[in-house]
Structures are given as C-alpha cells and as structure tokens.
C-alpha cells in the first residue's frame, strides 16, 4: 500500500480534513471509533493488511504518517 492510497482512503471518510498535514486525529476527535474500525476493515479487505486490537491505540491513528508506519510494519511481518 502506498501513502497516497492511504490518504485517499482517509479522505473518503473525511473529505474536509487535510490528512497530509493533520496531527492529533484521535486526540482532537477528528477520527471516531467507527472511523478507526472502518479503516481497519478497509485495510484488511482491499490491501490485505490485518491490524490487531493491540495496534488500535491513539499513537498509531493520530496522523496519516503514524498509521502508514504501522501499515508498513505489518506488511513487513
């Protein structure tokens, strides 16, 4: 999965947010718990990246870059 594909996925959920630069997506309540599980489902279905419950912590979802780093880690495993 590329970073651009992740940005597209996030933008589909919240077109009004600039995910390239936005930080604190969870802390500032930009992403809700439903967004988080929608992202996890989409990653699993379209990109075959499976996140575990242990991965779903604010640090991994607070910015697109943090989420992308997590995805790369899971892809490498």
């Amino acid at each position: 999965m590329t970073f651009e594909q992740l940005l597209d996925l996030l933008s589909d959920l919240h077109p009004e947010v600039d995910f390239l630069h936005a930080e604190g997506l969870i802390d500032n309540k930009v992403l809700t718990s439903f967004d988080v599980v929608s992202i996890a489902a989409e990653l699993s279905e379209t990109y075959d990246v499976e996140l575990g419950a242990v991965d779903i912590v604010p640090e991994n979802f607070n910015s697109a870059r943090a989420l992308f780093a997590l995805i790369q880690k899971r892809e490498d495993e």
Partner: protein
Amino acid sequence: MTFLSGGFLLLVGGLLIIYYALPKRLRYLALLGGSVAFYALCGPKFLPFLAVTVLSVYGTARLLGRNLAAQKAYTALHKKNLPKEALTAYKQRQNRKRTALFLLGLLLNLGLLGALKYTSFLLEAFHAPWRVDWVLPLGISFYTFQSIGYLIDVKRGKYPPETNLLKYALFASFFPQMIQGPISRYDMLSKTLYEGADFDWDRLGRGLVRMLWGYGKKLILADRLAPALSLLFRAQAAEYRGSWVLLGMVLYALRLYADFTGGIDIALGVGELFGVTMPENFDRPYLSRNIEEYWTRWHMTMGSWFRDYVFYPLNVSKAFLRWTKGLRGRFGNGFLSRLPLYAATLLTWLATGVWHGAGWNFALWGLTNGVVIILSLTLKPLYDRFHGRFPGLKEKKGYRCFEILRTFLLMSLIRLWDCYAGPAGVWGAFSSLFTTWNYGQVAAQLSALGLSGAAWAILLVGAALLLFVSLKKGEGSFRRFLDSPWKLWLTAAGLLLLCLLLGAYGPGYTASDFIYGRF
C-alpha cells in the same frame, strides 16, 4: 462507609498525616493501608473477594510477563541459527500458552463478578425454584474491570507486569476510586501512585476545592432532588404522566450529573491531596452535539474501557473481518456490509448495559444506546446531504444550541430506563409524553413534589452555576482563577460554607447513596 460519612473524612485526614510523615519510598504503603482500612470499614466480608481478584490477577500477569520475557530472550538468542518457520512455530506455541493463562485469569474474575452480580437475576428470570441472596461487594464492577484491563494490557505486551504485590494491590484497591471509579489504566495511574508526593499547600488546596465542589454538587443539588424524583418515578405513578415525565427527565439529568460527577470530583480531589492523578471521567457531557460525542464525554473511563477491550477487538477479530469481507463481496459497500460493525456496536452496548447491573432495564438501556448510535450512523449520508445544501449552518451558534438541546433530550429519554420499572413502565411514561398534555397542571402543582420555593431557587441557581463553570472550563479560565493562592483558599472556604449552609445533611437526614455506587 461512604464519601459522605464523618468516618471517611477522619480516615482521609489521618492518612494525610501518616502519608506525609513517612519517607517518600514508603508512602504508597500508607495508601495501601488506608485502602484496606476503607474497604474493611465498608464491610469486612468483602475483603476476601477483593483479595481473590488482586492475587489472581497479580499472579496471572506475572506468569504472562515471565513467558513474554522468555520468548523475547529465546528469539534474540536463536534469531540467526534457527529457520524462520521454527521461530514462528515457537512463538505460536508461547502465544497459545499465554492465551490459556490469560483466559484462566479472565474467567476466574469475570466468573466471580458474574456469579455475584447476575445469579439472583438469572434464577428469577428463568423461574428457577430456588433463590440466592448474595451481597455484592462494594465497587466489584469497577475494580474487576480495572484489573481485567491491566491483565489484557500485560497480555498484549503494552507494559511489563508490576512485580511488587503490594504495589499491585494498591493499584487494584486505591480507595477513592472504589465506590464509583474512575476506572484507571495501570500505565497512567502508576506514574503518580507509587512515587510519594512532596507536601505542597497549593496541591492540597486544589484537592480540597475539588472535593468540596463534589460535596456541593452531591449535598446541595443531587440529594435535594432525590425525594422529589422518588415521588415522580415511584411505581404505578399514574398521576405523574405527560409533562411530569418531561420534568422528571430534566430533573433526573441534573441529579445524575450532580451525583456522579460530584462523586468523581471527591475521588479525584482525594487523590490530589496525596499527589495521585486519576483520569478525568467527564468532559462537560451535556454540551455534546450528538450521542457519539456524548459517549466520549460522559463516564469516559468506562466508555474507553469498552471501546478498547470489547469494541475494537471484536471489530478487528478475524471472524468479524471475514464476515465484513464476505458481505462486501456479495452486497457492495452498502448497509448490509456494515452488519458486523452494527453487531459489534450492539454487543458492546449490551455488555455496557449489563455491566451496570442485573436487570432487563439495564440491558435494554444499553441496546437503546446501541440502536440510536447505529441509526445516527446510517442516517449520516442524509445528514451530510442536508448540510451540503446549507453550508455554514453547522457553525452557527443557534444551530449548535439546537444540537446540544437535541442530544440532551435524547439522552434524557434513553435514561427513562433508569427511572421506571420494566419495559411497560418505561413505555407508559414515554408514550404519555405525546398523549397527555398537562403543562398547566404541572405548573400549578409543582409544590406537590415537596420542594419549597427556596429549594427550587437553589436548584435553578445551582444548575446555572454548573452550566457557567462548564462553559468557562472550556476556556481554561476556571483553572487559571485558582492559580492565585488567596483565590484558591477563598474558594475552598466559600464552598465549605455553601455546603454547610445549603447542603442536605445532619440529624434526621440519611444521605442517599451515590447512584453509581450501586454498580
């Protein structure tokens, strides 16, 4: 013993002296001693149940930690000389061992909670020929969930287990949070729980202000409203229908807020006296603009517990992901493909409802929340389309007020499950809102609730003050105001005076229990 008893204040006062007299490294022992004393004074027969939870969770977590550490060492040692498949197989074997251990600890504690809390209800529900009359240990739902959260985190490798049994026992039993939470996380609470704070007048003053603010909410507002609400919600109160129900909803919202946030203020204030920072449990929930937001601002530690340990794991479980995949393959990205998400939402809310207590009302309260959340998710495209046609409306002050009022009324309606016995009672009250038009009667007979004119005035001013503080807290000005020492101590003195003058207490008066103390 409750927060409202003289014994509690004596215990806190005595503990403060002992705590600050001890060397820093031993101060946590004073807190542990105080916690055991508090729990024993609440009911010595409850202590064995707490001990079972402490010992079983501590032991299980230690074994999990030992297994994880051994796996790490083995992997590091054999990373280069063993094939990848052999290492993976080894990790899988260890993971299975940890899962078995974890399940043992989990089932023991959930089983204990379940047996004590739900046996009586289940026997009755299934018309069993015998009954049990077991007393629920104080705060069992809170300390069990806090302990299970810790166990899950250790199992996930989020942090290593606590090796000191006494320190762990303090985490599980820290007395201010025993009655009604908050449900703390080990990695957050342990930062300040064991370090032994230096004595600081400023912190002491802040803790006192927080406690007195909580006592004020409880004694001046919540307990003043309690008798009137008992009258309104009593069984078969056929005369209190229609607008009486609406009035009851609003007054109950005020009472519940004052009671629960008041109790949490006292708990957090006591913690602050000892330099212990516990998590906030509320973030001005009645200013929420929708139900989803409300549940991120009301009883936050319980909400985040169910989110992190039930909702997320369910949704990212292999079974749910496979189910979603299958549905998307067959039905595309529409409503049906979201069935797993909706099922997880309903299960989480059912569990949340049942956590509150054994009874159909609790389960139905949880499910109603889940259904309303699912409805709001399903209708989101319509909502977005509406706002697409009226851009900028969301940011208008009037519209924001409308959203806040709508959410307040919706949550108050859902709370009818708290107020009336059984589905028939709730339905009778709910339907009367639309069929019985008796505003005039309510206005003329307000005195029937037993509240004097002065009591109504106090309640109105109190509610307005809570709203004012909520609005100000958003800008941080209330905290800044207390930065000045003389303002801090003056506020403490003022709050104490208000509690003494206006609080409901004294001879002939029995303080009502904290509502969340029942759970």
